[in-house]
């Protein structure tokens, strides 16, 4: 609450300073002999930036350092017997202190030490906030004054504001990039812990996956084996089935939409097709489990082929349906982007419509279509909900689409659901699997984007 007030005060100050700066610039423009370099409102923005930006930066820096400094201060003031606690216990104690300080209710305190520390923490935090508010506000005032004083007809306020806007945009995009890097690093470090315990070669080439490990020495149970090949083949099998469904249907419907359908039909049918992409994957999961899998099993029974209830076929079929709109929508775009001059060239030579499409339009659009298919493949490999619901849990090394297989994503989910200990290879293996998944989809995306870009260059 206090914090919101501070931010609001800063915003109000910036707004006020904006008006003042603009007014001053206007006054200069009226009285002065010199022409103003920029429009008056740019001088206003310029002063407002000087007023608001340093204060906001200070607050951001302060808040990110505050917890560490407070912790160090509180720990330093703890009685010696508490300081002597092992690191894990100390961390638990500090956790309690923080929670007590936040609630302000010390009735459930575990010890007088904690209570005392929490009191101290509260006071320190209040002081810290007060100090921050005072410094931030004075910084805003000083900045505002500096900005007002520097207003002169020669000041290139417009260019300065432009530069500030650019910095802001760059900061936004780097934030997204850093998030990605952070995800990769966290995956990487956990995977490295895993590969300390299990050799990389066993993980990549081992044929047996059963991640259950004994928790105590005297326990009877599996010792765990982490050969991920059955997971890779399972993922591959389901993805291949999905693509066998999605590529022909998606591509043919895209050709129809782009080349044959009249605009009225297209305006209705295209959104309907793209609605498939909007259905939550968990609903596809229901459909696979409750409709497609039993149907296939009964069909198999009646013609004498044993089909598992969690067959790769059922999962792949439903996943394929989910992917159709990706392929059709991307292919539709690239087919429509093929210049009409090529079509007319072919028609002018006496080609029929389907000949033109087959021999001229599709070859011209092929790089873009392949790019779209690669994106769809990476989507299929990473798809989780459908396979969690409809695919099997146990790892079988098989290429039989009627059998039950499991996938990388299913295993990650089953490894990380529930209470976990983050030092056993069982849990850590999820990160190794995640890393593999990430690398594969990243490679597919890079290749796909490259192919698509190359195609674009050709017709622009």
């Amino acid at each position: 609450m206090q914090f919101l007030t501070l931010v609001a005060v800063l915003a109000l100050m910036s707004a006020a300073v904006y008006r003042m700066g603009r007014g001053r610039a206007q006054a200069l423009a009226v009285t002065g002999v010199h022409r103003l370099h920029s429009l008056p409102s740019y001088y206003g923005y310029y002063v407002a930036l000087w007023c608001g930006l340093p204060a906001v930066l200070l607050i951001a820096g302060w808040l990110s350092c505050e917890p560490y400094i407070l912790r160090a201060l509180v720990v330093g003031a703890l009685p010696p017997e508490a300081k002597a606690l092992p690191a894990a216990r100390l961390s638990l104690l500090m956790n309690e202190v923080r929670q007590l300080a936040a609630s302000g209710d010390f009735r459930f305190s575990s010890s007088p030490i904690a209570t005392a520390a929490a009191e101290q923490y509260r006071v320190l935090r209040a002081n810290s906030f007060g100090a921050m508010a005072v410094i931030a506000l004075s910084l805003a005032i000083v900045g505002g004054f500096y900005g007002m004083r520097s207003i002169s007809p020669k000041l290139r306020a417009r260019n300065r504001v432009e530069a500030a806007v650019k910095v802001f945009l760059v900061a936004s995009s780097t934030l997204a990039i850093f998030t990605t890097i952070g995800i990769v690093l966290s995956l990487l470090f956990e995977s490295l812990l895993f590969f300390d315990k299990i050799p990389l070669t066993q993980f990549l080439f081992g044929l047996d996956w059963s991640p259950q490990t004994a928790m105590r020495a005297d326990q009877v149970g599996a010792s765990g084996s982490f050969g991920a090949v059955p997971l890779f083949t399972g993922t591959l099998l389901i993805s291949v089935i999905a693509m066998l469904v999605a590529v022909p249907i998606g591509l043919l419907s895209a050709i129809y939409m782009a080349e044959y359908a009249n605009p009225r039909f297209r305006s209705v049918a295209k959104p309907l097709l793209e609605m498939l992409a909007g259905i939550p994957t968990v609903v596809y999961g229901f459909f696979a489990v409750l409709a497609v899998a039993p149907f296939l099993r009964n069909l198999g029974q009646s013609i004498g082929i044993p089909i598992a209830s969690e067959s790769a076929l059922a999962t792949g079929l439903v996943m394929g349906v989910m992917i159709i709109p990706f392929i059709s929508s991307l292919s539709d775009d690239v087919i429509s982007a093929v210049p009409d001059s090529l079509r007319h060239g072919a028609y002018g030579l006496g080609a029929t419509r389907s000949e033109t499409i087959r021999q001229v339009v599709i070859p011209a659009a092929l790089p873009g279509i392949i790019g779209g298919i690669l994106l769809a493949v990476s989507r299929a490999i990473g798809e989780t909900m459908i396979v969690v619901m409809a695919a099997g849990l146990s790892a079988h090394l098989t290429a039989n689409p009627f059998a039950s297989v499991t996938t990388v994503t299913v295993q990650i989910v089953s490894l990380l659901v529930g209470d976990q200990e983050f030092d056993s290879p069982k849990t850590l293996s999820a990160f190794a699997l995640g890393l593999v998944l990430f690398l594969v989809t990243l490679a597919l995306n890079v290749v796909a984007l490259h192919v698509v870009r190359k195609y674009r260059e050709k017709y622009d």
């Binding site: 001059s341 060239g345 028609y347 002018g348 030579l349 006496g350 070859p363």
Partner: protein
């Protein structure tokens, strides 16, 4: 329709003498509500170059597209009247558009080679219509067409490279080679030099003059010098109407109509 037969009878003397390759009788074209061509009567002689000139939007390209029925591809386009090729109605329901377009080739304003090799570009039409009975046959057709388009010497060492990699002028001559590989009787050219530099233009114009020997050529052009250089007959269009048609020399030296005179002397357009 009486107007059609009247118009047909009104064809000039050439048509009556049977020299006309293509005749148009009272041709009207509508694009939706827009009346783009109004009652055109025109005879185009065989083995001559006929230039269609006129200011932008006058309907000359529209008329050109009627001759191989490319207007069929434009949504909302409606063509009425009679157009004949060798005295056969090309808008007859019995007539196969695909066959018509094999007889009437077209070269477009912007060079539009297919994203295939130079060889495959030229071989496309012959393959489509089954003109070659063997690989050797096909190769001969490709080489002859490229030679006739004056491109063979420039590309003979790189027939398997993509046609899109050629220069603009070469691409346009490749498109001409592609059109003549089907052995059409008529070649329609829609401002074939408007995207080319003067040197490439000169080469294409020279080529047009040579092609006249074997083909009937109809060319739409914005350049009056070009019309004067390459054509034997010139037709002047204005606001969807055919204002004047005659021998090129006569049109440029002694135009009968004030509009024609104004256009060729550069007073408007």
């Amino acid at each position: 329709m009486s107007t059609t037969s009247d118009a047909y009878l009104r064809q000039d003397a050439d048509a009556a003498a049977g020299m006309a390759k293509i005749t148009a009788g009272d041709v009207n074209v509508h694009y939706g509500d827009k009346h783009a061509l109004k009652g055109i009567n025109l005879a185009i002689r065989a083995n001559e170059v006929t230039a269609l000139i006129g200011p932008s939007g006058c309907g000359k390209s529209t008329f050109l597209r009627c001759i191989n029925r490319m207007n069929d591809l434009i949504e909302g386009a409606r063509v009425t009247g009679l157009i004949t090729l060798d005295r056969q109605d090309i808008y007859d329901r019995e007539l196969d558009v695909v066959q018509l377009r094999a007889r009437v080739g077209m070269v477009f304003q912007k060079p539009n080679p297919f994203p295939k090799s130079i060889y495959d570009n030229v071989a496309y039409g012959p393959r489509l219509h089954g003109l070659a009975h063997s690989t050797a046959d096909l190769e001969e057709i490709v080489v002859t067409s490229l030679e006739r388009a004056g491109l063979y010497d420039e590309v003979k060492d790189r027939l398997d490279e993509p046609g899109t990699g050629l220069s603009g002028g070469q691409q346009q001559r490749l498109c001409i080679a592609r059109a003549i590989a089907v052995s059409p009787e008529v070649i329609l050219m829609d401002e074939p030099c408007s995207a080319l530099d003067p040197i490439a233009t000169a080469k294409v114009e020279e080529l047009i003059d040579e092609l006249r020997e074997n083909f009937t050529i109809v060319i739409v052009t914005h350049s009056m010098q070009q019309a004067a250089r390459v054509s034997q007959r010139t037709a002047f269009f204005h606001l969807g109407e055919l204002v004047e048609v005659g021998d090129t020399e006569q049109i440029f030296t002694n135009p009968q109509h004030k509009l024609t005179q104004g256009y060729i002397t550069g007073r408007f357009g």
